[in-house]
Amino acid sequence: MSYQLPKFRHPELPVNDLGYTKAEYEGAISTLCAGCGHDSISGAIVRACHELSIEPHKIAKLSGIGCSSKTPTYFLGNSHGFNSVHGRMPSVVTGAALANRDLLYMGISGDGDTASIGMGQFAHVARRNLNMVYIIMNNGCYGLTKGQDSATADRGSASKKGDPNIYSSIDLCGTALQMGATFIGRSFSGDKEQLVPLIKAAMSHRGFALIDVISPCVTFNNNLASTKSYEFVREHSEATGTIDFVPMHKEITTEYEPGSSHEVTLHDGSSIHLYKVDDSFDPFNRGSAMGALEEHRNAGNILTGLIYMNKDSRDLHEVIETSQRPLNELEEVDLCPGNKMLVNINASLR
């Protein structure tokens, strides 16, 4: 008997600009249920970080409590990690990000962790436009406690052992949009072709970047009556379009037909190319994004892809004008300029 990940890897695995293979971005073997959507999201994060050639020690992954929040153990084993209190991941990221603005913050949360116990924290971290990626592994149920409906379970949806849900569900993309998030995407754990570029774009965005990933709970919520099953999501998801992520230093070699795509340059110089399915939808307009979410919800569909992006996003550090040098690097001499300076300041106020 063995449940261990063998150490052998494919001998010709591609290496990124840092000379690392994907293996350097992997974590411990997952202990989630077999077939859990969360594992695919972990796989997508590994792929995105590897392909973007991010040094593993420049990433911090933080989470709350729940099946979703266990996953940081299963990816980025060479990065910083913090498994915090239920629903309180945003506070911990806020503290960490204020102390060290140089790290890339990846918050992992679930529908319970975000939409119930952590709803207040979620609203405020979005409102403050903290520079982080916030991934919700959204399965519409409490998998760790036998699959009770969560706040994102759709009205009428039923889990394996449950009755149809009688309450209205919280649309986390809509909520984030209301609260002032500057990058909002939705995807599906079973669609890495969409999810990986979305995660890359979110990581290159400066500001609060939310990705709500529908991630079926194979054990409790992957039945016919559920609206978060593999089958239902495949049949009912409608993408806003496809996106291509082009890293900063890569030359754009694809020919784009004028008018068919939007090119957006992100703050780090990389760009995304968006091919829209519907011309009337404008992902750079909050009203349009809100309308599209509403329209698809009413039609019983799930809108996926890039939903909203604020091209002029200013993150928390810019807004509160913190020092460019991370606060945790400031020494006493920087913070306490001495008596002479104090005399000068006082004199200027007289």
Binding site: L5, R9, H10, I29, S30, G35, K192, R234
Partner: protein
């Protein structure tokens, strides 16, 4: 691509690289697991049924299985398959009650086997249990053929050879030794129902260089010299010996020379070192015994003074390769190199010769004077006469001779029963899930990181003074276990059932070697270009499913799959299962 037909036993057979590469298709992982379980006798019998001479082959096999081993593609060194076979042979218990029962009442058919080497003995093994009456003729004093005359005792002890040869001869075979068959017509006149020719490739090739006539007393052909040592007609050689040739016979000649008094023994070969025909381990063994190998030296002439051999002269060359990779040896223009020698052994190859087969027996011979033999039935153009081993298609090795013997036995049995020899029985195949429970499989799927273990050797000073002392000591049981644990169990197959798949990607995410992809279908070349990991090894198949609900297909590149079972472990719907696939080649006695 079309969905892979996994019902065709050859598909999964090919995934078991070692078994597929073995001419006799021995189920290697099956017996390696038995060794790990300390079931040595069972492991021996799996071998015996397939390759007839496990103890002999566990010491001397050419091991085509090892370069094929998947471990080479994920690590560096293959599993020491050959030496594990020996572990089974060394540690087995009594097998007499496991050998086939030979019927007292015969079936009335009589078969003659010419030559008592591995091919003939395999035919006997296949036919005796079916009630055939079998007569073997051989010119040596005992059975074994080249295994007795050519393989030195320090590589293959006589005891091991006798034991395995006798398992067969004791099946009531009528053996006539010390008899040279010099007419096939005479044999055919004895009204045999079929005749099998397994006489090997008995003629050594020589080089007719200037000075040979005068040097003749001190020049021998390698294989003739080896037999005369084996049969104790020769027990010494000069101090300075030159061995010409770069094959395994040359290695046996030089190592034997060291044991018969040769002090300055050299191997001289025309080709570059890497191109030598000898197996790498045989070259290493020779060098370990202090025998230098001079490559890129083409023999020019014998130097004889006062009627005695003084040495040989060689021209130095370098290998050049043209665009098609064809090699030519171009002289460097340097002075000829002189090497002193008391004796010269020429081991530059051997060939077939059939002076004893009359050409009016209906056996057609081709332009190289080789009999025309069907490659799958081993029947000649005289329907009663079958060929196998080196006699069929030229010099190969013991395991190939065994493979020929199995098929010839099948043919002879079909022929004697009046059936079509081309209508061959299918291989026997079985397949069963290895799942025992949660996280529990009936095979050890924990992949050992150990490097290949070295086989311990007897001390050089002892082995070089005793021609019959075995050099390799073999693995002890605990090292054998550790080496057995390196096997990846490639016969435990990943079997995919698309009907159950919900396309959750769990297998893709967990696979340590990125073998699995879900993507849209396409032509093979196109598909290979867009899988999860590079799939450039064209010798390894892609396993493609039928269309899934999303109109994608599952594509698995078999190349570096570790058979760790994690895809099946992480599959929520058991669309993946690990099934042990046992493939055994059809044999004459399988009907029993």
């Amino acid at each position: 691509m079309k969905p892979t037909n996994i019902k065709d036993p050859e598909y999964f057979h090919k995934v078991v690289d070692c078994q597929y590469a073995c001419p006799a298709h021995t189920p290697v992982p099956e017996y390696i697991r038995l060794i790990a379980a300390e079931r040595y006798t069972d492991a021996y019998m799996v071998n015996w049924e397939s390759n007839v001479f496990p103890g002999i082959l566990g010491r001397t096999c050419d091991r085509p299985c090892e370069p094929a081993c998947r471990r080479v593609r994920v690590e560096e060194e293959p599993v020491a398959i050959c030496r594990l076979k020996r572990v089974a042979a060394d540690n087995k218990g009594d097998i007499s009650d496991r050998l086939p029962v030979i019927p007292k009442k015969k079936n009335g058919k009589r078969i003659a086997l010419i030559g008592a080497g591995p091919a003939s003995l395999t035919v006997a093994r296949g036919l005796a249990p079916l009630g055939y009456e079998i007569d073997v003729y051989d010119n040596q004093f005992a059975g074994g053929g080249m295994m007795r005359s050519q393989i030195p005792a320090f590589r293959l002890p006589e005891k091991v050879l006798n034991e395995e040869v006798n398992y067969i001869l004791d099946m009531g075979i009528n053996a006539t030794f010390n008899v040279e068959v010099d007419s096939l017509k005479e044999i055919l006149n004895k009204n045999y129902d079929a005749v099998f020719v397994g006489t090997g490739a008995p003629r050594g090739k020589g080089l007719n260089l200037p000075g040979l006539e005068d040097a003749m007393d001190n020049v021998s052909l390698g294989i003739e010299w080896l037999s005369s040592v084996a049969f104790e007609h020769t027990d010494s050689i000069g101090k300075r010996v030159l061995v010409l040739g770069g094959g395994n016979t040359a290695m046996d000649c030089c190592r034997t020379s060291r044991r018969l008094g040769g002090e300055d023994v050299r191997v001289v070969v025309r080709s570059p070192y890497e191109d030598m025909k000898a197996s790498p381990w045989e070259k290493e063994d020779a060098q370990h015994e202090g025998i230098p190998i001079y490559n890129n030296h083409v023999p020019k002439d014998f130097v004889v003074e006062d009627g005695r051999l003084k040495g040989m002269r060689f021209e130095k060359v370098e290998a050049r390769y043209d665009e098609e990779g064809k090699r030519s040896l171009v002289p460097t223009g340097e002075d000829l190199v002189f090497m002193e020698a008391d004796d010269v052994l020429m081991a530059i190859g051997q060939e077939n010769t059939f002076p004893w087969i009359e050409r009016d027996l209906g056996i057609e011979f081709d332009k190289w004077d080789m009999p025309v033999v069907n490659e799958s039935t081993f029947q000649s153009t005289n329907e009663k006469v079958f060929f196998g081993g080196d006699a069929a298609f030229g010099p190969e090795n013991v395991i190939t001779a065994v493979a020929h013997g199995h098929q010839a036995a099948v043919s002879i049995d079909l022929f004697c029963r009046g059936d079509d020899v081309n209508d061959r029985p299918s291989p026997r195949v079985s397949q069963g899930s290895q799942k025992m429970g949660v996280h529990e499989w009936s095979y050890d799927n924990d992949i050992a990181m150990d490097q290949r273990y070295k086989v311990p050797l007897a001390p050089l000073e002892k082995t070089l003074t005793d021609r019959k002392m075995e050099v390799e000591l073999g693995f002890d049981q605990s090292t054998g276990f550790k080496e057995a644990e390196r096997c990846l169990n490639c016969d435990v197959q990943t079997v995919f059932d698309e009907v159950r798949c919900i396309e959750c990607d769990a297998c893709v995410d967990i696979c340590p070697t990125d073998c699995i992809s879900f993507t849209s279908n396409g032509a093979e070349e196109d598909l290979r270009g867009r899988l999860s990991a590079p799939a450039g090894n064209l010798a390894q198949d892609l396993y493609v499913s039928a269309d899934l609900p999303t109109m994608r297909v599952m594509v698995k590149d078999e190349n570096v799959c570790l058979h760790c079972g994690l895809c099946a472990e992480r599959c929520p719907t058991t669309a993946w299962d690990m099934k042990k696939f046992l493939y055994s080649v059809s044999k004459a006695d399988q009907q029993l």
